[in-house]
């Protein structure tokens, strides 16, 4: 058991899989010699050499094309898209090629690849470097979508993603990189599609992801002080989605609040809400409340950015509204 940062856990998780499987290779911008702009791949070039770790030009389509073609022909690439905002410059590779090729080929082509990307706001990088885009991926059939909230889950879910036979988008919330957690020393392999109940309470169910998990927990603490006991679910994976864990909890609490960094419309919170409204409506004793960023680009100034993102107090308010 060692304490390490979220960013160190990324490198540790990749190293675990590269050690195990020689077909795992890495590519991306500044990931090799520089160890990544967030230092999440530090040491991997030194350890695994230039035969397995590749710095690329600023050519995101070429990066994902290379990953896809390599995955089709026997390798298990891990590609980095430096900021998830840049998925927009290579979205075609993600949604039209990587997501659909297995299906269009009627299963002839397998695409065991992972695309890691730093996601989300909180570090004052402005509107083109702060988006949470995990729901862009969730909306596209053929992609698995993961976003851990702790260093331990980073390692376990990275391992699961690398071993998965299908394309996995792995979102690393950039405001979490400096956070710390305990990570066991032995090999860790998680499972995609299993949410974690990180707190138990009977009054309401709060579902959160990535950087919103610690905030939801802080809100739960505050609510507890007011005598409101809540369950907090760390979703961890959007595809596959652990509907069972959510539904089970809602059946117990009767109240549901989702907490996401995404702008208002069409986020994963809407999906979770609408699943419950379709499948578990009669379990509900109050409205399903979604706490989100308003439907705005992320502003750059610290004061504005902080106020735009879901805060602990907005989560607290959201829970109270759900209890009406």
């Amino acid at each position: 058991m060692a304490e390490m940062t979220f960013r160190e856990a990324v490198a540790r998780g990749i190293a675990q899989e590269m050690d195990r499987d020689p077909s795992v290779v890495l590519l991306g911008e500044d990931i090799g010699a520089a160890g990544g702009v967030f230092k999440a791949t530090a040491g991997l070039l030194e350890h695994f050499g230039p035969e397995r770790v590749f710095d690329t030009p600023i050519s995101e389509q070429a990066i994902l094309g290379a990953a896809m073609g390599a995955a089709m022909t026997g390798l298990r690439p891990i590609a980095e898209i430096m900021f998830s905002d840049f998925f927009a410059v290579c979205w075609d590779l993600v949604v039209n090629q990587i997501a659909k090729t297995r299906y269009m080929s009627n299963g002839q082509v397998a695409l065991p690849l992972v695309i890691r990307s730093s996601n989300g706001a909180g570090v004052r990088f402005g509107a083109q470097h702060s988006q949470s885009v995990e729901n862009w991926a969730m909306a596209v059939p053929g992609l698995k979508v993961v976003a851990p909230s702790t260093p331990g889950d980073v390692v376990g879910l990275l391992a699961a993603a690398v071993r998965d036979p299908d394309p996995v988008l792995f979102f690393e919330q950039k405001s979490l990189y400096a956070t710390k957690g305990e990570v066991p020393d032995h090999e860790i392999v998680g499972a995609l599609g299993k949410a974690a109940v990180v707190r138990q309470g009977g009054a309401a169910t709060i579902v959160a992801l990535a950087a919103m998990v610690p905030r939801a927990l802080a809100a739960a603490d505050e609510l507890e002080r007011e005598g409101i006991e809540t369950t907090v679910i760390d979703l961890r994976s959007l595809v596959p989605l652990d509907v069972t864990t959510i539904a089970t909890s809602v059946a117990e609490t009767g109240h549901l609040v989702t907490v996401e960094e995404n702008p208002r419309l069409c986020g994963w919170g809407a999906e979770v809400s609408s699943i419950v409204a379709e499948e578990n409506l009669f379990d509900l004793d109050g409205p399903i409340v979604r706490v989100t960023t308003p439907h705005v680009p992320i502003p750059a100034a610290d004061a504005l950015e902080d106020a735009a993102l879901p805060s602990v107090s907005r989560i607290v308010d959201g829970v109270k509204r759900s209890l009406q």
Binding site: E60, A66, N106
Partner: protein, 340 residues
Amino acid sequence: MTATAPVTAPLQVVPPAQDVRLRLYRMMVEMRDFEKRAYDLFLQGLVKGTSHLGIGQEAVAAGFGMAMRPEDFTFATYRGHNHTLARGVAMAPVMAELMGRQAGLMAGKGGSMHLTSVAHRMMGSYAIVGAHLTVANGAAWSSKLRGTSEVTVCFFGDGASNIGAFHEALNLAAVWHLPMVFVCENNHWMEYTPIASVTAVAHPAADRAPAYGLTPVTVDGNDADATYEAATAAVEHARAGGGPSLIEAETYRHGGHSRADPGTYRPNDEVQEWLARDPIPLYRGRLIAAGVSEAVLVGIEQTSIATVDAATEEAKASPPPDLSIIESDVFTGEGSSWRR
């Protein structure tokens, strides 16, 4: 605004051996007969949706197909029937795919624009212009990392030379010194717009080769000897570790862009000039001049028609796909299930 004149390939110094030439001829005739039949079936409403014929461009598909080894990879566009057949894929599943039948190469899930046969290392046909150049790189990169001598050949149109993915793919292939052969089939039109009207240079691919440190190569895409020679040189260059090539094959599609498009937007004299250079009669004439007997050629032609007939019957006999496959193979072994 009119298309640039084709570059005539240098006269063959050493023509291919006669068995190679006969195989090239057979391939071209089969491609032509297959696609003519596909067009008939389209008019009969049996081929649904869209299909993009390569009639007139067979010498490119045949020349390159012939130069490739079984272990090499092909990546093609939606205009990919010929490139698929060139890898030895049987006609019946291709025809059945065009018709949306169970016996289709991808059981109807892909369609004409996405022909794929991994068993033949035909790694797919792609319908977003330019994207597959980057994917093809990945196969070549993998070949290199896995220490094999496989070569990847990627076909695309003149119009693809103006999209961003082209640029990214060519640069990466050059920097990583990949065993890639990029083949631009310059048929002078992108759908209904002449390539010259939207491109800053006369040769959309060849004139860009130096931007990637590559040598400009053009070849007469209607001359199967020339394409075979250029293909062999580029494929073996890549196999020997010489890195990527970018070849521009000048050619023409006889018909429209897709489906029932009559292609009437093209100047008549341009069409006539190219029809007069139809690669198949041209090659037939050359074989006769080289002493091949008429009977041998007629034999090839008759066998081809018979093969197409049989494939058509086989495809027609296949039922529509079982609807259960709609939800299969989104994910490996899990169908389309996104929930736990």
